[in-house]
Symmetry: D2
Subunit: 358 residues, 4 copies
């Protein structure tokens, strides 16, 4: 087959690198960037696979003509306009610091957890060590597009939120801000597909272990909780401690958070109306009609989020349900959405894919 791109374009494209291209978030970034009309993929790093072709690591890229995987230290960062970073937390902060030192004008879309927490103590408490790039931690903007669009446009370093926080915060922040729900009684039962655990080899993500069964994990200790507390707390204006209980579900992609909330004089319909107002002009956030349930099938492979509201049987309570694809809106898609903002392109560029169903 011919691998020369059938998608020719006269204008100059921005040059993009992907740090950590051998992981699932890196690969989904490549999947989307390869069809993004304004960019070209100019560098891919994966230190343990350096020297390999990308399609040796991810054979579904056989049709693309991609740069060979390189060690991140070997890349000439001055040649790039932006970098999407899919490295593990902990190592990210030092590498990002080095990249920015090499090219202070580069835009960084970080998909790791390293720059999401605003408070150094909070970071140290949840990640077990002092932050190694505290200045950058201070500079970074929390990249939940719909909530921080203005800050992202002006930013150089965007800390894209975790997949769970993206789903939860889009569902709850407008309600907390509007004073419709109690920020101190948030119970969040979260369910995620197995890619949420990454491509690393772990026994519990083997097909024979994770298939045909479901298991709670990291109950009350999952690190994404810190982001939820932080952002709900900001919305509420007071420190918040939320329940957050993740479960591993036998599917590859997708995430659904069932949030149990206590109403402050409002009804479930009020919540739905408030969400509709908040997201009326948003291209990617959809509030389901009354009676329609969000389900992960509706967003698989896409950058869309679907949110629904149901009245609880318990007087004064409601259920807010939010779903997204953890690798797209929960990671690489949101990074590209932010990149579009930073470069002044229409926010939806390259992200128009509809869910792959069935």
């Amino acid at each position: 087959m011919s691998t020369s791109s059938p998608f020719i374009s006269g204008h100059v494209k921005k040059k993009i690198g992907v740090l950590g291209a051998s992981g699932y978030t890196g690969a989904d970034a490549v999947r989307l960037l390869a069809r993004h009309p304004e960019v070209e993929i100019s560098a891919l790093t994966a230190n343990t696979h350096a020297g390999k072709a990308m399609d040796e690591v991810f054979p579904h890229f056989f049709m693309l003509d991609l740069p060979v995987l390189a060690e991140w230290e070997k890349v000439d960062w001055t040649k790039l306009d932006a970098v999407l970073c899919g490295l593990p937390h902990g190592t990210t902060q030092e590498i990002v610091a080095a990249v920015l030192k090499a090219n202070p004008a580069i835009n960084i879309l970080d998909m790791s957890a390293d720059f999401r927490l605003r408070d150094q103590e909070m970071y140290a408490q949840w990640y077990g060590h002092a932050h190694r790039a505290p200045d950058l931690q201070g500079e970074a903007v929390y990249g939940l597009t719909e909530l921080y669009r203005k800050e992202i446009i002006a930013a150089r370093l965007v800390a894209c939120p975790g997949c769970y926080p993206t789903a939860v915060l889009l569902a709850l922040v407008p309600l907390v801000k509007a004073g419709l729900i109690d920020a101190h009684d948030l119970i969040i039962d979260a369910k995620s597909g197995v890619t949420g655990a990454g491509r690393g080899l772990k026994q519990n993500t083997l097909f024979a272990e994770a298939g045909e069964g479901l298991s709670p994990y990291s109950v009350a200790v999952h690190r994404h909780t810190a982001e939820i507390d932080q952002e709900i707390g900001l919305a509420a204006g007071v420190p918040v401690t939320a329940n957050f209980t993740p479960h591993l579900i036998p599917m590859a992609r997708g995430e659904l958070c069932t949030c149990y909330v206590r109403l402050k004089g409002a009804s479930a319909d009020d919540l739905r109306a408030a969400l509709e107002r908040a997201y009326r002009d948003e291209p990617f956030v959809h509030v389901a009609r009354k009676g329609v349930m969000p389900q992960t099938q509706n967003v698989r492979g896409s950058n869309y989020v679907q949110i629904g509201v149901v009245a609880d049987r318990i007087e004064g309570r409601a259920i807010v349900i939010s779903t997204l694809d953890n690798l797209v809106k929960g990671s690489a898609g949101q990074a590209i959405q932010n990149m579009n903002l930073m470069f002044g392109w229409p926010e939806t560029t390259g992200l128009e894919q509809i869910a792959l169903f069935p």
Copy 2:
């Protein structure tokens, strides 16, 4: 192959019938009864498949020598000692009444919802019509073995609980009874495999629809909620309205309920200790050690229940997690456990299978 049973036994076996043998609960009853040393399967009914061999309807029974599927009206009920009933709700009550009229001495293990609610109004409200066998509704014993063992031994008609209520009530009733948790703040996020929806043809249970995705369903209106309200209310001594939010999970069997509870002065460790006390001598209910999470994989195909307790991040709250196989302890297995009690056999007879993992 030889289909003559390799399991010869000199003593006289009880003759058992299965009403509704072409559904999943009926089939799982057959799977277990066929290897139960004290019984023989003497009648199988399935009106829409009458005249067929059982292995035309369920080919995995090719090794068994089973009665041909019959219309229930054609069965001579006076020849049987007990019947397991896997019919849909609504039709069950009239057929059970007819069977008991034909043979008042027969034991009935009903796996449908028809006799689970004690109150006629409550039944009418949840099922949309007046009960058509109110006397039997009054006579029936709620067949949650661990809670009603004495009543079951003395009963003729046992209404085996729904799969969800079995998981929820085993987890919560001892805690409510002991006054350790608030019965008015129960949030139950439930997840079930697809067999919970039965073998009927529905679009949402097609492989291509239910696979690789998850969806909430019947939120705040699922009929199993009525049983939960009823039994928690009895334990609490006051009427109770619980949250109950089921989700469809891409697996065939298994169910896991994550229950969010408010503590009444107790700690999560107190809850675990109370459950351990309650189930110390139970053969099928297992309380997981601190730090061990129940998961459906641990109970698949077995009659076991696993319950775990975790302290919540929110002060004064805890999370109680319960898992079982919806077709075994959630249905056919519990029916056989009750049948064992009614006939005076060891409760574990025929139910010793360990989970099939992986």
Copy 3:
């Protein structure tokens, strides 16, 4: 959310209809057409769902502004430029005849089996009745793009091949034509995901039945065999009878055919070289490097085909493996590829999506 399209285009778009939009092939046509820059979806039919919004039938289309589902008789076909037809075989021929009668200039991309067989007797034999539009049967072009590009460009009615024949013929026709393999000793072990069976309600495609297991079906009688015989026979210049043995695999999408062939003096490397020559300039057909195995994961959701060749242990035999997504290159994608040809657009327009992996 805003449903106004973010993809504005000054030029006039072709108006496309989809017949049978409530099935899986119809839905995948909508998924792809909705993001195709040269077309607008102007009519959707689904007689049993007429009057409904498309997102009531396929909720993952919540973000699209689509025509309401209509009865096909109610559509004004003179307003449309082309129709993709995803109706069941049998009914298709009469409806297509009616559409062409209403608008003889319309282009028809038929995804059903109705116009694939060139011979009326062969049709009658495999489908059990005389063809009801024999003139159109004679007019139709077999829409395997890579083999009949010239004919498709000139056609009005294109009979897009079945999913299995597309995979098999792309793998074998160049080898038969080049005289490298024996056309009379073709053993084709085929495996398909469950969407191949459509969205109709069947017991064997329920999640609980098809999941976690695999089963052969329609062995030696599957209707796609007729197309394979026909096209291999044309390539060979003599009538051919092939083995074709399909298996149902627990996945939603994807198809892989393992073809066991007898070599005519050639080696496995010769076969690979011949395929590479045949597909050197093809945008969608990829021949895997020696040692690389095609797998359905590589093409899921995409219009690509991947073919690999391995030498058999048995002297003088080889194994040719071919994979595609049954709903894309095996159905809606190939229809759009042909539509692109018919309208003179680049063949890849709207079909650039890379496989969704994982």
Copy 4:
């Protein structure tokens, strides 16, 4: 819960050890042995997990009172009557030699590949090194129960066949022996669930990689081919080279082999009749009625094998399909079946479980 066994028995039980209890075959041996009425599990080894409780490694054993995992060197082999060995090939031969040296009277049921090949050169060729216990290799009996029952009864060391060879040989050996099919034109398209690859951490068996897709692997080089060649060759009386092409299927358990055979004057019905004769009195091998297709769902979790025969479309060819559970009849179940023979118990003891469907 109470973990004291509910299954009391007055007679003295045989003491059984399991070498390699932390793998899937070891675990399935434990699952079956724990409910076997004639044995007690007296030793479990797993050198990398020594000191752990079995339910730390396999939590679904929470209800069993099992020996702590030990290093194999620490076990007193003189106390045991038999050992099931689920170690990887290569290391097995030395450990088995040591065990037999410690206790020459012990019975060994080896589930590894180490003693299956009768010829030392063939072993060296397929496994890449000279056998390190050639005397034992000579002594070992090939443990395909239905073919070598007499030899197994008399043996001390039984080399239980691979899962694939068990399925293939049960389907083909009687046909080759009867001269009904050509031993030199055997094409075996094999499909296996993911547990066939074991519990070791490999990228291709991660849920996100193996799920929702299928891939051929080890085409024409899989080591099980050696056993197939060996045993078909013995049946044919001449050396044989078979095609054998395995595929990884997205399910945990189960295996189905589709064997394409050339008939020697016989018909498909003749093949079926020959298989029925061969297995008439066998408790675990079932020949499906004409028109009934074997499927893995019929045998999941059980020791049964199902075989079916279909006439091919190609004149003079037929298709023989065989299915089993790779961890039961393909491994631990067959080992126990052989153990039953060696100890003089009814062959079905402890193996009566019916398939877990759905």
